[in-house]
């Protein structure tokens, strides 16, 4: 029989029993809908994180001290792997691909300002920091190389800190106290929002790293070195180069692993979204089970249908249908039901995702890929669970089928 006619025949027998067809499809509808909503929630979280990472700065690389475990044994807390100013200097001087470098010294400190006091993150950074992070000033000015060299007691405030210390007033030109040392506020940063991990990036005070190290804390070691290239294509090369420079600087032998990490934004994003990916997979897996149950529903109904329609099968065979014609007819019925259910499920999923977004305020994203996978999957469910009943129908003997009461 020609394919188009087969689909027509299948469609007809499906339409003959509308209520049953609908109930059978319900399992698939709910399954596909659930998968779609779950994946939409996961994808939404992921794309949000990726946006935030992109927000960190363009062409940026982050060097952090890594937990080295030479020969599988951690060296313990006595031998921290530390990054030093020399490391930063070496990268600045020796690297071809790196255009900007800034060490970051991080401490937390109580800060006293005009109208209050506030505990904030204090980042000691170099002049390049602002450009690397692709960050702008809302008002005031940034510190100069001269300020850094001399360890001048100046600071630039994040908006959160500025609000807490000088609610309403202009902080520029005011003086704040950090560990009893008076520091002059020379600028305020543009708001930047949250990090992927959810911490407030604007809850920060930036000062020259020399100032932080020499005058504001005893903390000598640097927590990060931020680096950027002038060209995005140089990022992998810069990464390799920094690896070489730091291995040499740290005197690592050939067999020793790196005691530091150089990560680009994609890697940062992957690390941050890794957990949401696992969550998405888990949710999708749970939702897939309902799709499976839907498939079993189809199989069940198809088996009932084959038994009920034994006479019909006998008639069709008596007038010349081959076993394969009958097989294809029942298989198509199963597929039409599951794909139709899948399509309705997709519509339900879109609605559900919008509803979830509306109620919870999470962002949900339905990717075209998810829709395609959902449809293909429901067709596969139809084939898989329709095959056994269809084969049972096809294997019937015409006379026995005709004699069936």
């Amino acid at each position: 029989m020609r394919p188009f006619r087969l689909v027509k025949v299948a469609g007809k027998s499906i339409l003959k029993n509308k209520m049953r067809t609908l109930l059978t499809m319900l399992g698939i509808i709910i399954g596909v809908g659930a998968v779609l909503v779950m994946v939409a929630v996961g994808d939404g979280a992921k794309s949000q994180i990726e946006n935030q990472i992109r927000n960190l700065g363009s062409n940026m690389l982050v060097v952090t001290p890594g937990s080295s475990s030479a020969g599988g044994v951690s060296r313990g807390s006595g031998s921290f792997n530390r990054l030093s100013l020399e490391d930063a200097e070496k990268i600045r001087n020796e690297s071809v691909f790196v255009s900007m470098v800034s060490p970051v010294v991080t401490t937390f400190s109580q800060i006293i300002g005009g109208s209050g006091n506030w505990r904030a993150r204090l980042n000691g950074v170099d002049v390049d920091y602002l450009l690397i992070r692709d960050w702008d000033l809302a008002s005031g000015s940034w510190f100069t190389p001269q300020d850094v060299r001399s360890g001048k007691k100046v600071a630039v405030l994040g908006t959160t800190v500025a609000d807490k210390l000088f609610s309403g007033q202009d902080p520029v030109g005011q003086t704040i106290q950090i560990r009893n040392v008076p520091v002059q506020v020379i600028g305020v940063l543009e708001p930047k929002g949250q990090t992927p991990e959810g911490s407030d990036q604007d809850d920060v005070v930036l000062a020259p790293y020399t100032t932080v190290q020499q005058r504001l804390s005893r903390f000598r070691f640097i927590s990060q070195i931020l680096v950027s290239t002038s060209n995005q294509n140089d990022i992998p090369a810069a990464q390799e180069e920094i690896n070489q420079i730091l291995r040499e600087s740290h005197g690592l032998a050939q067999f020793e692993e790196n005691d530091f990490e150089v990560k680009n934004q994609t890697q940062l994003a992957d690390a941050a979204s890794g957990t949401t990916e696992v969550m998405t997979l888990l949710l999708a897996a749970i939702a897939s089970i309902s799709l499976l149950v839907g498939g079993i529903g189809i199989m069940n109904i198809m088996l009932v249908s084959v038994t009920e329609r034994t006479r019909e099968i006998g008639i069709r065979m008596a007038i010349g249908a081959r076993g394969s014609d009958v097989l294809v007819q029942f298989l198509i019925e199963a597929i039409v039901m599951s794909v139709l259910g899948g399509a309705i499920g997709v519509a339900v999923g879109f609605g559900g995702a919008a509803l979830v977004a509306n109620i919870t305020g999470w962002s949900t994203v339905v990717e075209p890929n998810t829709v395609i996978v959902a449809l293909v999957f429901s067709a596969a469910v139809g084939i898989f669970f329709g095959f056994y009943p269809a084969r049972k129908a096809a294997a019937m003997n015409p006379i026995d089928a005709l004699r069936f009461e």
Binding site: I315, A318, I319, G320, A321, S324
Partner: protein, 256 residues
């Protein structure tokens, strides 16, 4: 082989095995049926008539023996080839009509054409309507089976059997579920089809029905015990007589 032989069976046996029990439904059937014949198969219940029809109709395989249909050795065919033979060479009419429920007359009649692998008919619907017109149901094309009388349903079944223009028509007790008038109507149709050249083989219990055939084969316990040609009675004459008598009865009823 003689051109005009449509069915040739030699030593056909059929044994049904049920557990340790063996039922010998057919014990060696040798029959030749010529093109254009109208043959009635008679016999007591359980004599093997349906079993023979099913084998001749390609619905079942014999346990032993050979069966040639239109020069093709059928008992050696694969299941798929046998399905094609049923589709192209045989039109089967059943006692219980066996129409698809909730499917219109014309769709029922179209059905065999949908399974025609040769695609001989361009427009199945048109052919189906033609077949329905031929059995006198041109005005009932879109009726569902449950909207038709028994006789009409059997005509739809006959149209379905005819639509592929088969070499022969097989009918297993086609009038078994019909009243006497409808029986004669259907037999009139069979005789007309036979006159137009179609070979017909039909099973019946009733001598009246058998008298419309030109040849009677009688079975007993799976063997042929009688195979005779006879002067066939005209079903149309019978029909007209019955209808005339009926009109007379009605008139008498009105008068009294």
């Amino acid at each position: 082989m003689d051109e005009s032989v449509v069915i040739r069976t030699r030593g056909i046996t059929k044994v049904y095995t049920m557990g340790t029990n063996q039922v010998h439904a057919l014990r060696g059937i040798d029959v030749d049926i010529l093109k254009g014949e109208m043959v009635a198969i008679m016999g007591a219940s359980g004599s093997g008539k349906s079993t023979l029809m099913n084998i001749v109709g390609g619905l079942d395989y014999p346990t032993a023996g050979t069966y040639e249909l239109d020069g093709i050795e059928v008992s050696a065919l694969s299941k798929n080839k046998l399905a094609d033979v049923r589709n192209q060479k045989i039109g089967f009419v059943f006692q219980g009509f066996n129409l698809l429920a909730r499917t219109t007359a014309v769709e029922n009649v179209e059905l065999p054409l949908l399974y025609d692998r040769l695609g001989r008919v361009r427009n199945p619907r048109e052919a189906a309507v033609r077949a329905l017109t031929r059995v006198g149901l041109g005005d009932r094309v879109d009726h569902l089976p449950n909207e038709l009388s028994g006789g009409q349903q059997q005509r739809v079944a006959i149209a379905r059997a005819l639509v592929t223009e088969p070499a022969m028509l097989l009918a297993d007790e086609p009038t078994g579920n019909l009243d006497s008038v409808t029986t004669v109507e259907v037999m009139t149709l069979f005789q007309e089809l036979n006159d137009s050249g179609i070979t017909i083989l039909l099973v019946t219990h009733e001598h009246d029905v058998a008298s419309y055939a030109g040849r009677v084969i009688e079975l007993r316990d799976g063997r042929v015990i009688r195979d005779e040609y006879q002067e066939r009675v005209s079903a149309r004459d019978d029909l007209e007589r019955i209808l005339a008598e009926r009109r007379m009865d009605e008139m008498e009823e009105v008068q009294s």
